[in-house]
Amino acid sequence: MTSIRNLLTTAAACVVLAVATPARAEWPERPVTLIAVAGAGGGSDYTMRLLARELEENTGQPFNVINQGQGGGVIGYTTYSTAAKDGYTLGQLSPFAQFKLLGQADFTSESFTPVAQFNADPAAVHVAANSKIKSLKDIVATLKADPSSLKISCGGTCSASWDIPFVSLMLEEGVDVAKINLIPAQGSAAGLQELVSGGIDVVLCSIPETDSLTSAGLVKTVGVLSAERLEKYPDVPTAEEETGKAVTGGTWRGIAGPAGMDPALVAQIEAAVHKAFNSERFQSGMKDRGFGAVWLGTADFTAFIKQHEDQTKRVMNALGTAEVAD
């Protein structure tokens, strides 16, 4: 009998407590959905799951990663940018500005509440090891003489992470970029396959993706579009060293929610993501796969995605690929 009475007392206490606590309790008090804007098995899936595992451990709530990579991620972005603003449906934010410019989607930087960026990988320029092209300077010279003389793979869809910074660099160099022969690929592996089979001349993608082919002596990286040389690849020069133009860019991944989320809630989520980011398991998991662990807090990330939108607009207008003129 005592046990039942105890139970009742506890239950009553719980009710009182629940009523007494402020309306918005600690986030998260129930499972959170994280939308990855890519299919299972790729880099986005991997990094999102790595982050989710730490968030789960720290908060004691499940973080379910849902893959919605259909339509290049448009479906995933649409799902979470139109979800409830309660912090329980969040998603991956990666280069997104091209979708609107290509007429594929309606969302802009205004459609999201950025929380934090946890990864950035600079674009790099790769050629076949037996190619006549030996450096980024060679590429610039060749394209200046005849902009359409090189077949350049975007290492994924074009007007995206890898080719936007590259074209941006060529714009600075005064190349007639509207004539550049950019060729989309089904991801970087497909682009590299084309490179090695002799189908194309240049592939744009991140450096770790070429590790195996570089060690096989088939691929050579001639430049990386980052501010400094990468720790893991000290022999690859930056674009600035090669050309004198400080153009950087590449892909990046962050966490965001639908537009108009409560700033206090965003701060809570940012703190949780930051804790996960700083964990040793997350850091080593990123390092093992060669992903750059780069942190931008809410304020910086918000400024950064505006900048991303501007660069994308400028390049796509120069390329003549933008459907919606600015």
Binding site: G39, V74, I75, P184
Partner: protein, 501 residues
């Protein structure tokens, strides 16, 4: 050179063997459920194996995917619902045997061919992975384009009695494949402003709809007499072993085709099964016949090919880190996490590990035989239950399967839509298989064609400039002309005979 004893020692680890066994059972269960694919079996494993040692982690993927590809044959033969897209090519042949009371024959043939095909690819993998990988890397978009067009010619072999209806089904599949963002420029097509259609129609929901849902509709609508026969299953081993020997050449051919197609990045087990099926149908003396022996020959050739392609996909994956299909994409990512970085240096610096991984292929494919027999028996027991209990459960798994692949309710709507479409097509004698073929190959052909045109800036001669491309191109054109010519001529000859009679 590698010391075989080190490999045996690494394998003779109770923990590793337990993981292999558990993954085998899991793979069989996933593959046998219509709509749950080998890729899904692999993707669902990742959260578990991320905490394992490197060898058990990779062994788990190898075993589960091999089992799932085989197990896809079981609902294909018994229910006419291919468990995975890789079984779609020969579902009709296998189900016809079941209707004649020869379930044991159909599934036994698939079982032994799967194991043999898998073993064959494991042998090739062990002996020649690095040199074969170099050949696979010589393929550019031009060669893939021709391969895709060659694959399309398979439609004429699975078209059934009417070439026109077969082509109608193929073109339906090809036009459905144009829905969504175009694979090269990303322009949305036929999406009518719907975000759900941006990514196109998912292959799995369409497959589930056309095959599984339409079959459920048919069963609900008609008195089903064929099923009674399926319940009497004789002993699998003794019935099969002496009757399969005549098909050894077909299995060998299927195994080799599967290994080669699997080694080409981007062409997976489904395409391997189709090509092998087509070659058995047209190119072999036994496979050409419409009798039981012909069906067994085709089933065995295609089953050997889809299991062999799994091994083939590891060739570019382990040597160059280039995934041959979506499953090996996951494997590569797991290998990186575990510190076994794929690449030629892996074969030089760490041969024990890589050859132990290949050895696991042998174990997994040998396990297919005993576990496969148990699984066939188990599935047979389920079918003894009355249809009105089994059907709702299958429907539930179909819905689950469609939802879990796409993570959208839209996919569930798709299976209903394509279920009705499939039912109507069947009722009018339009075969379903060519539509699936069109849906699989359409995006590949379109994308490689557009990429090639962008590369040559519109010059069509590029399609015959490279030697391999020119060879496959000419071969493809000859096959197409021959296929259409024979079908047209054969049809005319038959009509003439009729008029004489």
């Amino acid at each position: 050179m590698v010391n075989p004893f080190t490999i045996l020692q690494q394998i003779n680890d109770p923990h590793l063997l337990l993981v292999i066994f558990a993954s085998a059972v899991y793979g069989l269960a996933i593959g046998a459920i219509p709509g749950l694919t080998a890729l899904m079996a692999t993707a669902l494993l990742v959260p578990f194996i991320i905490f394992m040692e490197p060898l058990p982690a990779i062994a788990s993927i190898i075993t589960a995917s091999a089992m799932a590809i085989f197990a896809g044959d079981i609902p294909g033969a018994m229910l006419r619902m291919p468990g995975t897209p890789a079984s779609a090519a020969y579902t009709d042949d296998a189900h016809d045997l079941t209707l004649k009371g020869k379930t044991v024959m159909a599934l036994g043939a698939g079982l032994f061919a799967s194991a043999a095909g898998g073993l064959l690819s494991a042998i090739v993998l062990t002996l020649a992975a690095p040199s074969l990988a170099r050949i696979a890397l010589a393929f550019s978009s031009v060669e893939y384009f021709w391969l895709g067009v060659l694959g399309l010619s398979c439609a004429t072999f699975v078209a059934g009695p009417s070439l026109l209806k077969g082509l109608a089904s193929l073109f339906l599949g090809l036009s459905l494949a144009t829905i969504g963002m175009d694979p090269v420029s990303g322009i949305p097509r036929f999406t009518f402003g719907s975000t759900n259609l941006m990514g196109g129609l998912g292959l799995i929901p369409v497959l589930i709809g056309l095959f599984a849902i339409s079959e459920l509709l048919r069963n609900a609508n008609a008195e089903f007499h064929g099923r009674a026969n399926t319940h009497r299953m004789g002993p699998i081993f003794s019935t099969i072993s002496e009757r399969l020997w005549p098909h050894k050449v077909g299995v060998l051919r299927g195994g080799l085709i599967g290994t080669v197609v699997g080694a080409l990045p981007g062409a997976g087990s489904d395409i391997a099964a189709w090509i092998s099926y087509a070659i058995a149908r047209r190119g072999s003396r036994i496979g050409r016949n419409d009798d039981e022996k012909g069906a067994v020959e085709r089933i065995m050739s295609a089953s050997a090919a889809n299991n062999a392609s799994l091994g083939g996909a590891y060739i570019p994956a382990t040597v160059f880190g280039i995934p041959g299909d979506a499953i090996t994409a996951i494997v590569i990512s797991v290998m990186f996490i575990k510190g076994i970085n794929p690449g030629p240096t892996l074969f030089l610096n760490n041969p024990e590990t890589i050859y132990t991984i290949f050895a696991i292929f042998f174990i997994a494919n040998l396990l297919i035989v005993p576990l496969g027999i148990l699984c066939i028996r188990g599935f047979g027991l389920i079918l003894k239950l009355p249809t009105n209990y089994v059907s709702p459960v299958i429907l539930m798994f179909c819905i689950l399967g469609a939802f879990s692949v796409e993570n959208t309710l839209f996919a569930v709507g798709l299976i209903a839509l394509f279920g009705v479409l499939g039912y109507l097509m069947e009722a009018n004698g339009v075969p379903l298989a060519p539509a699936i073929l069109g849906l699989i190959l359409g995006p590949l052909i379109e994308q490689t064609f557009m990429t090639t045109m962008l590369k040559s800036q519109g010059d069509l001669t590029i399609f015959f400039e490279r030697p391999i491309a020119a060879a496959i191109g000419v071969f493809t054109i000859v096959v197409w002309l021959a296929a259409i010519g024979m079908k047209a001529f054969g049809g005319a000859a038959k009509r003439e005979m009729h008029s004489h009679v």
